[in-house]
């Protein structure tokens, strides 16, 4: 019997026109910001790096670039460093992003171990969970996975990068999936797509380039909830963009230097799915897509789980799947904190938690008493904040609960470590005898 699914919210998806339009390319940003590990990075000022050459282990230059400095961004963990590169495209021909010509390797000659080696060397990252593809394939192989799924689930409004890539580049996704099956030893493979979208101009086909497409329905969230069964046990999911990069890497030895994002929202003139070099600042993406209104908010990611940015130099990374603009700021805030007790947050929670009570306990400072509410089960889908008529940031309360819980556990651990060690029984009696004699 299928597992019953509770709660969640029904969202208007707004995936047109981004889904039906062809995937555009942003070829030449002025600058790129590449994430680097400071200890493994050393470059001189104005040092040149050619396209697809490593900048530091695991990071490749998407274009002909010159290094100009290091930067951190306020919205990210400030211990993360980004290396700033200016593009030096004025003295070379534009190198294409997509492979052309004959493949450098024959498809049948590529074995499963080769695929994993290539994925490791080319630093391919799964865009949905940020894990390295080679690690996912290795774990899946060790676990004996028999079914692989190409993950194109886009359950948040506006975002259609996954399903756009699946339906516009089925050949690349299909061959990439085949390579992944070879690496893992899986016998079956499917594509997964969220089909509860009412306003699509192009129908969602059930079969693409030899791949069978499994359609998922239901309320948001789907990836964090129903789709968990497709990445546990004998199943594993791999993002479609990672599969496209795997195909390119196996065919032409091209590392992953681009990502596929949806550029959309109510302020964009030409909403579409775009392939952009990793590290492209949001400013260049907005310029390419065009703005018809001044947005109040721009998010990296969808409207439910994305992060708002205030600096247009913030770069997209491999796990960024959308850049969305909003005319009005309807975000949640801890300033609006007047709960009326309507209980809608409890009705929609897909994990069947009680955000109303978690907020009450956290506000009262009773984190320990709150443990029976199992707030650690929260998947941060933001359904509770979405449905709240007062605009309260309930996800922040659950996060605060997790932080306070960690602080309590660490305090307990440090107290346990600092506690004086108990002495042996013999020593005690000797001390007592000595004391009694004196």
């Amino acid at each position: 019997m299928p597992k019953r699914v509770y709660g969640g919210v029904e969202l208007d998806q707004y995936k047109e026109p981004t889904f039906s339009r062809e995937i555009r390319r942003l070829d030449k940003p002025e600058k790129v910001y590449l994430p680097i590990d400071k200890e493994q990075f050393s470059m001189r000022y104005r040092q040149r790096v050619h396209q697809n050459q490593p900048v530091c282990p695991g990071v490749y230059a998407p274009l002909e670039v010159r290094f100009t400095g290091l930067q951190t961004f306020a919205h990210l963990d400030t211990s993360r460093q980004f290396a700033v590169f200016e593009t030096a495209y004025e003295d070379i021909e534009d190198a294409p992003l997509a492979p052309i010509g004959r493949p450098k390797r024959e498809y049948d000659a590529i074995s499963g171990e080769d695929v994993i080696e290539i994925a490791k060397k080319m630093a391919i990252i799964d865009e949905y969970d940020g894990q390295y593809l080679y690690q996912k394939l290795q774990r899946a192989k060790e676990a004996g996975v028999t079914v692989l799924y190409a993950n194109a689930i886009d359950d948040e409004p506006y975002v259609s990068a996954g399903m756009g890539v699946l339906y516009k580049m089925p050949h690349e996704v299909g061959i990439g999936l085949e390579f992944a099956c070879r690496a893992v030893g899986a016998k079956e493979s499917y594509a997964l797509v969220y089909a509860n979208v009412g306003d699509l101009d192009t129908p969602l086909k059930g079969s693409l380039s030899g791949m069978k497409v499994k359609k998922l329905y239901g309320n948001y969230p789907v990836y964090k909830r129903q789709a968990v069964q497709y990445r546990s046990g004998q199943n594993e999911m791999i993002g479609v963009c990672a599969l496209v990069h795997l195909y390119r890497a196996c065919r032409d030895d091209i590392p992953q230097t681009t990502c596929f994002i949806t550029v959309g929202g109510s302020c964009v003139a030409n909403p579409c799915n775009m392939e952009v070099p990793i590290g492209t600042p949001v400013y260049d993406i907005m310029e390419k897509a065009g703005l018809i209104k001044n947005p109040q908010v721009i998010t990296l990611g969808g409207p439910m789980t994305g992060v708002a940015i205030t600096d247009l130099d913030v770069p997209v990374e491999a796990t960024t799947r959308a850049v969305i603009t909003y005319e009005e700021n309807m975000g949640a805030s801890l300033e609006h904190d007047d709960c009326i007790g309507c209980g809608r947050c409890v009705q929609v929670c897909p994990r069947r938690l009680m955000p109303y009570y978690i907020r009450k306990y956290v506000k009262a400072g009773k984190t320990e008493e709150c443990m029976h509410l199992h707030a650690e089960r929260c998947i941060e889908c933001a359904c509770c904040s979405f449905i709240c008529p007062m605009g309260i940031d309930l996800v922040a309360y659950v996060q605060r609960y997790s932080q306070e819980l960690k602080a309590i556990e660490e305090a307990q651990k440090s107290r346990a470590q600092e506690a004086p060690q108990p002495q042996n029984a013999g020593e005690n009696t000797q001390t007592e005898e000595e004391n009694s004699c004196s």
């Binding site: 919210v9 969202l11 919205h75 409004p157 703005l291 001044n294 947005p295 109040q296 908010v297 721009i298 998010t299 409207p303 439910m304 789980t305 994305g306 992060v307 708002a308 940015i309 205030t310 247009l312 969305i324 909003y326 700021n329 309807m330 975000g331 949640a332 805030s333 801890l334 007047d338 709960c339 009326i340 007790g341 309507c342 209980g343 409890v346 009705q347 069947r352 009680m354 109303y356 009570y357 029976h372 509410l373 199992h374 933001a382 904040s385 979405f386 449905i387 008529p389 007062m390 605009g391 940031d393 996800v395 922040a396």
Partner: protein
């Protein structure tokens, strides 16, 4: 462009708190129209006085609590309107006003205000008014007798069918007349057909969960069927118990009110059933016809407990299933 940053999510469900409150206010409008039809302009003036006193009391309490002059908070209006609709049409104006002021000042603001009231404010206000002036709150005029706006009421005062049931007698009103509201009773609680329409409106607007009033009515009907108070038969007992007093009005506007009820579905069902059992208990064994309001206040005290224990039970069963 001026970019601002708040937290996710950046889209919102379109309803707001005032939309929920206005749903209840709109649902009460047909009841006020019917009370005007039966009793003249007096019910409307009473509702106006109650709503105004509720709002003024709320503003004064906000000032006392140091929250400043809060003029936009209209959440107390519904409390005033509901208390007036549960009163007889001939009651002096000060009776529902006393109940409303007690509800807003003592039960609402003293216990924390909008977000923190553990008890249903309307039920507490009505209980206070009826226990303070019992001889005024349970005597009704006959419908279609226009009452003067001010001054003494000289119309004939009678008891409601609920009192007849209490004495063990059978009310001699045609159930069809009772459906249309053509019998003495609380102003807003007699028009059964209109009340059912209001319930439909609130359920379709998702202001009220259908299973809460349904469970309440079903449990009350079952008790009336199994333990009839009257000798006319079990079906008659069910019909008269359901149509008399403020049972249906309370099921729609008081028991279903989400603010002081439990938040999870199963807890709400248990809460509604408990309310029904206690209401019938108060009706059968209590001193006055007052049944629903004290029952509701008792169950409000258990809201958090019901939520917590049912959640714990569910987690325990889930863990056992996972381990097995």
């Amino acid at each position: 462009m001026q970019l601002t940053a708040k937290n996710r999510p950046y889209i919102r469900e379109s309803s707001s708190m005032s939309a929920i409150s206005w749903d209840f206010t709109i649902a009460m409008l047909p009841l006020m129209i019917m009370s005007y039809y039966y009793y003249g302009a007096r019910p409307l003036v009473m509702s106006l006085f109650c709503a105004a006193s509720a709002h003024i009391a709320s503003i004064l309490c906000s000032l006392l609590r140091g929250k400043g002059l809060v003029l936009k908070d209209i959440s107390s209006l519904n409390c005033g309107l509901m208390i007036s609709l549960m009163m007889p049409a001939a009651v002096p104006y000060y009776v529902p006003i006393v109940g409303t002021v007690f509800a807003v000042c003592v039960v609402k603001h003293t216990l924390g205000g909008l977000s923190n009231n553990p008890f249903n404010v309307t039920a507490a206000g009505f209980c206070f008014a009826s226990l303070t002036y019992p001889q005024m709150v349970f005597l009704y005029t006959l419908p279609l007798e226009k009452l003067p706006l001010f001054g003494d009421i000289t119309a004939k005062m009678v008891e409601s069918p609920a009192y007849t049931l209490k004495l063990g007698g059978m009310p001699n009103f045609d159930p069809l007349e009772m459906l249309l509201g053509n019998y003495p009773g609380p102003m807003g609680a007699t028009n059964i057909l209109v009340l059912l329409t209001c319930l439909l409106f609130l359920v379709l607007r998702r202001a009220v969960r259908w299973y809460v009033p349904a469970t309440f009515m079903a449990t009350a009907a079952a008790i009336a069927f199994l333990f009839p108070r009257i000798s006319g038969g079990r079906i008659d007992s069910v019909i008269f118990e359901m149509l008399s007093g403020t049972l249906l009005f309370g099921a729609i506007f008081l028991v279903s009110s989400p603010y002081s009820a439990p938040k999870t579905k199963l807890a709400q069902v248990v809460y509604a059933a408990g309310c029904a059992v206690l209401t019938m208990g108060f009706r059968y064994f209590g001193a006055y016809e007052l049944g629903l309001c004290p029952a509701l206040l008792i169950m409000n005290a258990f809201s958090h407990t019901l939520d917590r224990e049912i959640f714990r039970l569910r987690m325990y069963l889930k863990n056992r299933r996972v381990q097995a």
